[in-house]
């Protein structure tokens, strides 16, 4: 179900913990599985459970707890808009509203072209740049409707990493 490369990575993570504490490697294993598959299907969660030798429900518990794990297919770019205090006070609602209108999707939804998924997330620790969002591995701060439009245009243009 997972590639050799992912399995090797999971094995490396697993080796960091004592033999009877396979559960400790779960966060990393799920991250690796999600990076390869795009999201965590029930099947891949069960596969990871078998791989680590832990009950499947323990995998579901962890996967549903952290908002960074996706349990449904997501678009190529996940727009994670922070909605916590600093960003909220600086107008994160308007940011979400703007993105929602531009993309034509609501929270947690994916655009028909499969390019964007819109999500609201908890504080990402970048309050100095509020309001902010995360796409891929990068943060974008001090957002305005104009900067959002520019960002969307670049992402639509095929860029993966917009700086």
């Amino acid at each position: 179900m997972l590639s050799e490369k992912s399995l090797a990575e999971i094995a490396r993570e697993r080796a960091k913990y004592p033999a009877d504490q396979a559960r400790s490697a779960l966060l990393a294993a799920l991250r690796i599985a999600q990076e390869e598959q795009g999201y965590l299907s029930d099947a891949v969660m069960e596969y990871v459970a078998d791989l680590l030798g832990i009950p499947a429900i323990q995998v579901y518990e962890v996967a549903t707890f952290y908002s960074m794990y996706d349990l449904q297919p997501v678009g190529r770019h996940k727009l994670c808009v922070c909605g916590s205090v600093s960003c909220f006070l600086n107008g994160s609602d308007a940011i979400l509203q703007h993105l929602s209108e531009r993309l034509g999707v609501g929270l947690g939804e994916t655009t028909a072209d499969g390019l964007f998924t819109l999500q609201e997330v908890e504080c990402l620790g970048a309050c100095k740049d509020a309001p902010m969002l995360q796409v891929g591995d990068h943060y974008y701060g001090n957002l305005t409707p104009e900067s959002l439009d520019a960002l969307l245009a670049e992402l639509r243009g095929g860029a993966d990493d917009v700086r």
Binding site: D42, P55, I57, Q58, Y60, E61, T64, F65
Partner: protein
């Protein structure tokens, strides 16, 4: 030892004791939801907050160890404010639907709210709603009521041994469930209902049947396995509505298994017989007791007059009470028949003379928890004796080692070293282990065997437990003899895991053909159960048993019963008996009669009726007494059950709790090898919910019969699709096929105890598996 003070009362407790435990020993009540003495401490409900002097905040009593000089107040203003605050938070999302909640009246949340809450809530917003889950036919869920104490989750993890429920989501969205909708599988799952402090998990079969305060409670005894769990039988009027565990730390602790909890639902089966039935010219008609008894007596007398008492046999269920067992064998032996047995599932009786006085564990159940090394010989207590299994599980969790020898890999709920015999070569595996232990084995022998041998040799007096399934093997006698050798070589001691609730009582009471009550050797031994089917018996007396599915060779049993001239069936259910009986006498079922059982430890426990018998049903001991009286046999002059109990005690005497596990072995006549070279070895046993007439009729527990086979074996036989035909020398059946890597190559698992599988005959026989011939389907274009 720390000295502490709780509510002004001083106490000295062991270091590491929690405030909760210290308060409990002082008799001071601290309210709680998530705490449970048998589970790990989660401290997540916060209900047990107490005021500790010098602590800045209230502390949870369940998770705070005492410290010397600690002063605790459980009812100070600070403690009360904490309790009120916690309750207000817990009730924010609780629906307060007590009037329609089955937990109402026995609900800690209700009680504690009454006792500790501030009557006013500040909350005016919307309550959250949690979707219900379908987690199978046993547990009803109403997850909006859940307060996330996680007792059910911890139970699955820590006691059940398989974690099936978990807490998914976070914060306000946290919910308890299985995530992927599926039925909970644990054989102990019902205990989660008892643990749930609110109405989130309730009993599905009991749902909306009654309010808890209307129920009458009668102390009962579970009749479904040899552990002898103590139960609380709850009834309303003439109906048993619920069976719950009755705490007895020496036997079942605080638990019972699902079989014991839900088997009562079978009492309402359609074929429950409540009126004596007579077969008149091939038609069943209801009769009065006088007519039915006349028919029974004259039927027996005529049969004996024609063929002699040697052609009469009696078979009784080992779920019968000591009193019934004693009278049953007295009836048969009084009539002159030596053929009395309760071991319908056994096929090899060569070791009868060597069998112990009764199948005794030879130790206390509690002591099983402390066994460092246990060898299970063809025993799967997880299905056969679930709460005895729980003791073994505890020993493993504390560092003990359990090794199992069996015909297939078993799904234990704790780590077990498993040695699996090659198809049909179970005896050879014991022999190989013996030669390993004696050091005569060749070096090339399998590594796991050598490991097991060295584990056993390294252990000081390891415990060897012979499982009830071992006796079902066609070479059981030789295997038992090997186990005796094995025990000597390993320097271990032997205990037996008895099968039925009163297997021990059946042996003690003389319901075996070669022993009289008290274990005395019978001067003229009769035939054992399995031999009766081929012995041209002309009359049968059956009590509480359905040989068609209870006997090892069900089809042969049915044929013999149908051929017999006269069959008297004393039973609760008429379904099968109508196929062969001439007279059916209705007897009391579970919770309707009184009596006593001897459990696996040799513990004598008694039970009394919880409800009245339906219709004209009578306790079996009374039926036997009247029959004995009517046949003018001596020793049947009883008026009260207590007189029979006294007679039983007189006949059995003071039996020992620890008995020698074997008597001297007779010379074992060789039996033909059960397996021929071609074909598969048919494995199989009575599955957990098929073991007796009552549990077979419990609809919520029903599991369909399926054949199981190793995926590679199925591939080798080119089996596709999901239905197969299995044929043995005595019959052919078809079943759905499930692939399972635990089934060894060269074998197929076909469960016993089902009407669908009875035709296949004995287990461990050779059989062939082919694709089911499906009805022709018109070829599509």
């Amino acid at each position: 030892m720390p000295h502490i003070e709780i509510d002004g009362q001083a106490i000295e407790v062991a270091p590491g004791t929690t405030i909760m435990e210290a308060a409990e020993s002082l008799g001071i009540y601290i309210p709680f939801f998530c705490y449970h003495p048998k589970l790990s401490v989660a401290a997540n409900c916060r209900m047990c907050l107490v005021d500790v002097e010098k602590a800045p905040k209230p502390l949870p009593a369940c998770a705070t160890p005492v410290a010397d000089g600690m002063k605790v107040a459980t009812a100070s203003r600070k403690a009360k404010m904490a309790q009120q605050g916690v309750l207000e938070f817990l009730l924010i999302n609780h629906p307060l639907d007590c009037p329609i909640c089955d937990q109402g009246g026995e609900c800690p949340l209700q009680d504690i709210t009454m006792g500790f809450a501030n009557p006013h809530s500040h909350y005016t917003e919307e309550k959250r709603v949690v979707e219900d889950k379908n987690i199978g036919p046993l547990i009803a869920t109403e997850m909006t009521r859940c307060i996330q104490c996680t007792r059910c989750v911890r139970f699955g993890q820590e006691i059940g041994g398989i974690m099936e429920l978990g807490a998914t989501g976070r914060g306000e969205h946290m919910a308890i469930g299985t995530y992927v909708a599926k039925a909970v599988q644990s054989e102990l799952s019902g205990n989660m209902i008892d643990l749930c402090p609110v109405g989130a998990l309730t009993s599905k079969p009991f749902r909306y049947k009654a309010r808890s305060w209307e129920l009458k409670h009668t102390p009962g005894l579970c009749p479904h396995c040899s552990t002898g769990c103590n139960t609380d039988v709850q009834s309303l009027g003439r109906e048993v509505l619920r069976v719950l565990p009755r705490a007895n730390q020496a036997v079942n602790e605080d638990w019972i298994c699902d079989k014991g909890r839900y088997a009562y639902t079978g009492l309402q089966a359609e074929d429950r017989v409540t009126q004596p039935l007579l077969r008149v010219d091939g038609v069943w008609c209801e009769a009065s007791w006088a007519e039915a008894l006349d028919a029974a007596l004259s039927g027996l007398e005529q049969m004996i007059a024609r063929h002699g008492a040697g052609r009469l046999a009696g078979l009784i269920s080992a779920q019968s009470s000591n009193e019934e067992l004693l009278l049953f064998q007295a009836l048969l032996r009084g009539l002159g028949s030596p053929h009395v047995d309760h071991r319908l599932r056994q096929q090899d009786f060569r070791a009868d003379a060597a069998m112990p006085t009764y199948p005794a564990l030879n130790m206390a159940l509690e002591d099983l928890e402390r066994e460092p090394v246990v060898l299970l010989c063809h025993a799967f207590p997880r299905q056969q004796q679930p709460l005895t299994n729980h003791r073994l599980r505890k020993s493993v969790l504390q560092g003990g080692k359990v090794i199992a020898i069996d015909s297939l890999r078993r799904d234990f709920n704790y780590p077990v070293t498993q040695l699996v015999a090659d198809a049909g070569a179970d005896l050879a595996l014991y022999e190989a282990l013996c030669s390993q232990l004696s050091g005569h084995a060749e070096k090339a022998d399998a590594v796991p065997l050598a490991h097991v041998a060295s584990d056993l040799l390294a252990a000081d007096n390891p415990l060897i437990l012979i499982g009830s399934a071992l006796l079902h093997h066609p070479q059981a006698a030789a295997m038992i003899a090997q186990i005796e050798t094995l025990a000597e070589l390993a320097g271990g001691r032997v205990g037996w895991l008895a099968q039925e609730a009163n297997s021990a009582g059946a042996w003690l009471s003389g319901c075996v053909p070669h022993r009289l009550p008290g274990g005395h050797t019978a001067p003229a031994p009769g035939l054992p159960a399995d031999a009766l089917w081929d012995a041209d018996m002309r009359g049968f007396v059956l009590l509480g048993t359905e040989p068609g599915v209870d006997a090892m060779r069900g089809a042969a049993a049915l044929a013999a019963l149908q051929k017999a001239e006269f069959v008297l069936s004393i039973t609760q259910f008429a379904g099968e008996a109508k196929q062969y009986a001439d007279v059916i006498l209705p007897m009391a079922a579970f919770a309707e009669g009184s009596g006593s059982f001897v459990n696996n430890e040799g513990r004598l426990q008694s039970f009394r009726a919880a409800v009245k018998m339906p219709g004209e049903a009578r306790p079996a001991w009374k039926i036997l007494r009247v029959l004995g009286d009517g046949l003018k046999l001596s020793g049947f002059q009883f008026n009260e059950l207590s007189e029979v109990t006294a007679a039983w005690q007189h006949a059995i005497g003071d039996y020992a709790l620890d008995v020698p596990p074997f008597h001297a072995f007779p010379t074992l006549e060789p039996v033909p090898e059960p397996m021929s070279a071609d074909g598969l070895c048919r494995l199989g046993d009575w599955s957990i919910y098929q073991g007796d007439p009552l549990v077979r009729r419990a609809a919520p527990l029903a599991q369909p019969a399926v054949a199981k086979m190793h995926p590679d074996q199925a591939k080798a036989l080119a089996l596709r699709g999901d239905s197969v035909e299995i044929s043995s020398h005595c019959g052919k059946i078809s079943l759905p096929l499930v692939l399972d890597v635990r089934i060894p190559m060269g074998t197929v698992w076909v469960p016993a105890g089902y009407n669908e599988t009875a035709a296949l005959g004995a287990t461990y026989a050779t059989c062939a598996v082919t694709m089911a011939t499906l009805p022709a389907v018109a070829a599509s274009a």
